[in-house]
Symmetry: C2
Subunit: 545 residues, 2 copies
Amino acid sequence: MTAKLRIVPLGGLGEIGKNMTVIEYEDEILVIDAGIMFPENDMLGIDTIIPDFAYILDKKEKIKAVLVTHGHEDHIGALPHLMDQIDAPIYATPLTAGLIEVKLRQSKGAQRVEIIQLQAGDVLHIGCFTVEPFHVAHSIPDCVGFGITTPVGLIVHTGDYKFDHTPADGWPPDFAKLAEFSSRDVLALLADSTNADRAGWTSSEMVVKAAFDDVFRQAPGRIIIATFASLISRIQQTADLAQKYGRKLAITGRSMRENTKMARRLGYLEIPDDLIIELEDAIHLPKRDVVIMATGSQGEPSAVMGRLARGRHRGLSIEAGDTVVFSAYPIPGNEETVFRTINQLFQRGANVLYERIAPVHVSGHASQEEMKLMINLVRPSFLIPIHGELRHLKQHAELGKQMGIPADHIAVVENGTPLELDGETLEILPRLPGGYVFVDGASVGEIGWPVVRDRERLSQSGIIFVVVSVNSQKQVVGRPDIISRGFVNPNESGVLFDGVVEAIGRAVEVYANSAGALNEAVEDALGRYLYAETGRRPLVHVVVK
Amino acid sequence: MTAKLRIVPLGGLGEIGKNMTVIEYEDEILVIDAGIMFPENDMLGIDTIIPDFAYILDKKEKIKAVLVTHGHEDHIGALPHLMDQIDAPIYATPLTAGLIEVKLRQSKGAQRVEIIQLQAGDVLHIGCFTVEPFHVAHSIPDCVGFGITTPVGLIVHTGDYKFDHTPADGWPPDFAKLAEFSSRDVLALLADSTNADRAGWTSSEMVVKAAFDDVFRQAPGRIIIATFASLISRIQQTADLAQKYGRKLAITGRSMRENTKMARRLGYLEIPDDLIIELEDAIHLPKRDVVIMATGSQGEPSAVMGRLARGRHRGLSIEAGDTVVFSAYPIPGNEETVFRTINQLFQRGANVLYERIAPVHVSGHASQEEMKLMINLVRPSFLIPIHGELRHLKQHAELGKQMGIPADHIAVVENGTPLELDGETLEILPRLPGGYVFVDGASVGEIGWPVVRDRERLSQSGIIFVVVSVNSQKQVVGRPDIISRGFVNPNESGVLFDGVVEAIGRAVEVYANSAGALNEAVEDALGRYLYAETGRRPLVHVVVK
């Protein structure tokens, strides 16, 4: 019996295979990407989510390399956690390597990581695998996908991509390489599904350039542009227009400043020194002479744009005549916060441009026609949709079927589900236990759903805490201490709490001599009393002293 | 000095003038609509939001009438609260009146409300005002806007509208009436801005009919359609297709059942008795013979679709071969929950259709070209954009300016900002105090931001409670009680809590004899200790006994 090739998407629940993909043949493993997920709105208090590495940590001596497609958080953010626990080199293009270095520097562990630079077009022999990175266009420069020749066949992993013929950095995707792969018979295509529910073709970055040119030509005062800290191409476009229209460029937000510095050093950003000024200096220039780039395009309250919207930025305040550009889509779940930030900026007198009213942002991911082109260029035997929610994978699979790939040659699976290929057939194995890991403050994986569900209940109706002293005759002594948070308005709690004291007295009287724990009996009685009085169900905690 | 006409939009923060508009001339007031707002994601635990009625309650004897444009929650949901406190009749079309009656019946107070039925085309003399309701198309039948002749001039309030030439009920908007208003010189147009950032023209309800027909023709098994309980026209379309394709119709969800019953009784829904069956019976029919309509199109976990997605519905479970249709847009802020529900339904084997992949829903609101048509039909002197977030009002104002309305004839204001018209000029007065009112359980207005902010902190890192006994020598006696919720995993808290006990001991030692309150000193010390240990900042509450 010949050995099989195993492919395991790992990562969060929402974005399938976005965060990490494992390629395994006998005793050798390649890892592709290790990103973070952003918590959903009901994962209260959770900072980030990282993939559950358990599957590969059990066999970590087999890991030969970590291949990274590009430098976005959802592809590199979990590297500090992963590299702390394994001993393999990272392979990445120069810009991606630079972003990884910035990230590793910011974390405490994972200092001694070997990063090997690769270039699109390289041919790398890693164990039994031959890895051929190929250039793709996305919303950050220096992105690659990987052709990986395995003992079972050639597989192609697209990374995040779109077929942009006129990208910001002038480097279109490598169509020839994809076609060349197809001449060698591609066993499986693992392809980005993020925009599988968008018809047509994603707009080129050139569209943004034109929209930005309009902004620069028309803005009567300052221009303030919010985008992702890693959107290097947008920073380049802004710098080019600043030069064209005689404005100075100030960059704010720690991560954006660090990324800019690194990208300029590596030659991915070409910005003359005298174009860039500090924010403090920008404030004293005539308003028409200034453009400011800032973080906070997702409405994050602590980022620059969030603070500007609420009037809480130390150095800068929004004024009538300012033009603010949101050059980003809201990540799903952030819509409300983004639009609130936009409304607040309008309130302060700014003119705000965002994607719905001007093409100041385009997606970095392929739409349906591009997905079809990818399938037809690569002509794989098997299609494995990755990167996207289940609904996107299903839609991507639909496209594959429309193009003649048989249903049993397409695998729509959730993260943690191993696939096996023997060259002829595709087998879907049972899902691995585990799933993903919450990062909350200094803890990684310690906080789970039970704690988050407690937070959910606390967030709905708060908590009431009672300390009641009971003497040896099981009578209440003195007035119980009653403390509530997030439950009632403290100024209006007087009458209610008098009622609580009475309810405690009654409960102690009734339950003092019954079997169970007295504090639990009082908690039950209080919960019922409070629901009847307020229609709300706070957590109730009673300590009997 | 002649008296002025005052217009005050009231309501929530997000949607301006959506929920309530006050029209006031000397001693007479008309109220238009009284709706609820849905809480934003950071208004934790809040059920709904109602407008702050304070402004009109101060002069409630002046209120002559409450005019209602249509029967959606965001226009009628606050009526039970309002009608409890004022003594004026409601004017509404028959279907809207029916929906209001259902609503009033469900609430405890507000039983003795007079509801006067009106029809589009009526001319009503109410105090100094002449009110002319005119038919508009929206996503519920029997919608009107109002032409209101005041002593200062004619104002036109559109309600929610779109210019649908082929609406589901076959009754297009009354273009002639709008043109006729313009022949009488319209002083001000108050117009729906909800879709002001959408170019073009909103699709007709007919598009949905065609998409639904495809679904009925192709679905191999059961069809389950999720939509709003008040979307009467969608229920009619579904019933028509059920009849055409020989399926029986089951309606689930309390509010949808009640609305259907009422609308059938009033003749707004024409469904033969033998078409409708109960869910229990639907389960035993062949799958191809059934269509089920359900609530939960916003992903609400307790509604039918949310329970189906999680496998928690008592009577029904999703199976492979089921076709689920989401015939609704996610309300902003609900995207994540809606898409999660869709992913869960895919997981259970259903084929799920939603607006992005098939036109199974269209907006009920006018897009930009329709807004321009409204302005050109009515030709007002003043434009007052209403219904929408600030960003929508701004965009609507832009359209007005493009069409030649001078900037000082357009008022973009937030809720609670009175406007005054004297026939020649528009004056914007300072914003009124107050804003909106939280409804949480049985409490209306008692819970404010301080309680919600406590919930926010609780939701982020939970709470830790400590009861420490201190003797007369200010020494800790026994081991303190430590209780935490939403902070750490109880199974892993042992070592941490040993550290907490030590930190308490140290703090009591250090602060026992200092001035301030001992519990506060211990709280501060514990907060620092816990942040150093966990990187998280729970609420800390210490009781010293």
